[in-house]
Symmetry: C2
Subunit: 176 residues, 2 copies
């Protein structure tokens, strides 16, 4: 790999502060001395789970108002509990969204959703050895749990248009 020069943040300001994300304008100095200015979204990281047993991968179908669609997705949630690690968030979300806990956890990969304008980082885990969790699931209204057959992962990939779910299911296709 080529040598990667540093990108030095040298100040900036908030442009918008919302409850779900914020927008800032910041200046950065590149190694060649040039200073550039960028506006981008600051968004809390998230964790998503590829939870599967011998026959199914456990997905959720939920409304995404920003795109006016219901989407088929991996269970997931934001790292919005102070001090929680990505794995702990994944474990909490698995219980809350589909009412399961898992014996085995594996870090699949992390990625930035769209780093041209956002700093959102998503951590994907695989969870196996599923069993009902002590806590009742609280997936919220209008969220449906979907057991999709492992034998039809291509069908699931055709039925979703959600980034984390595409990444997770394409990975799952290589291991089952």
């Amino acid at each position: 790999m080529s040598e990667v020069p540093p990108i030095e943040p040298i100040g900036g300001e908030a442009l918008y502060e919302g409850s779900q994300f914020s927008v800032c304008r910041k200046r950065f100095r590149h190694a060649d001395g040039e200073v550039v200015q960028r506006e981008f979204v600051r968004r809390m990281p998230a964790a998503a789970i590829v939870a599967y047993d011998d026959e199914h991968v456990w997905l959720v179908r939920q409304p995404r108002e920003a795109i006016s669609q219901y989407t088929l997705e991996l269970p997931a949630g934001k790292l919005d509990v102070e001090g929680e690690s990505p794995l702990q968030t994944a474990q909490r979300e698995l219980a809350e969204e589909i009412g399961q806990e898992a014996e085995h956890w594996e870090a699949v990969r992390s990625y930035y959703s769209s780093s041209g304008y956002s700093d959102e980082l998503v951590h994907i885990f695989a969870a196996t050895g599923l069993r009902p969790s002590d806590t009742e699931p609280d997936p919220g209204e209008r969220i449906e749990i979907v057991h999709w057959p492992l034998a039809d992962l291509d069908g699931a990939l055709a039925a979703t248009n959600d980034a984390k779910t595409v990444v997770g299911l394409q990975w799952l296709r290589t291991v089952v």
Copy 2:
């Protein structure tokens, strides 16, 4: 698939207008009558290209100030030219970023980057039969063209943390 109820937009307002994206607050009525309010980012769609020949996939390494990192990515760009289709954007970006045109184009898939807070849609195409384009590449400063061996796609997947690139390379691994 279950019946998917409609999500009806019933008004809203702009909260922030930037040159690269905007933020809005909108209200939506669900089929059960409940009205919810959401704040989200509106962002132009993008097109990305999995361009490969018999030996290499053509990538770019570029600074992403929002995450203060250089990232290894598919060539890509926004659909920011009036009237241009996603395929036309992909063809333009392939020439501008890596100075190539392609004989064969295939739509790989489209996905939403993170529809919990953004409407950004990314279209991924595969391009083969590469040859130098008439137009000189104009990748911009600090953008490096990287020829990654097809024999080491796992290495490329380990070296990138960019969503579109993960999706595109996972797909490429199934076809080469």
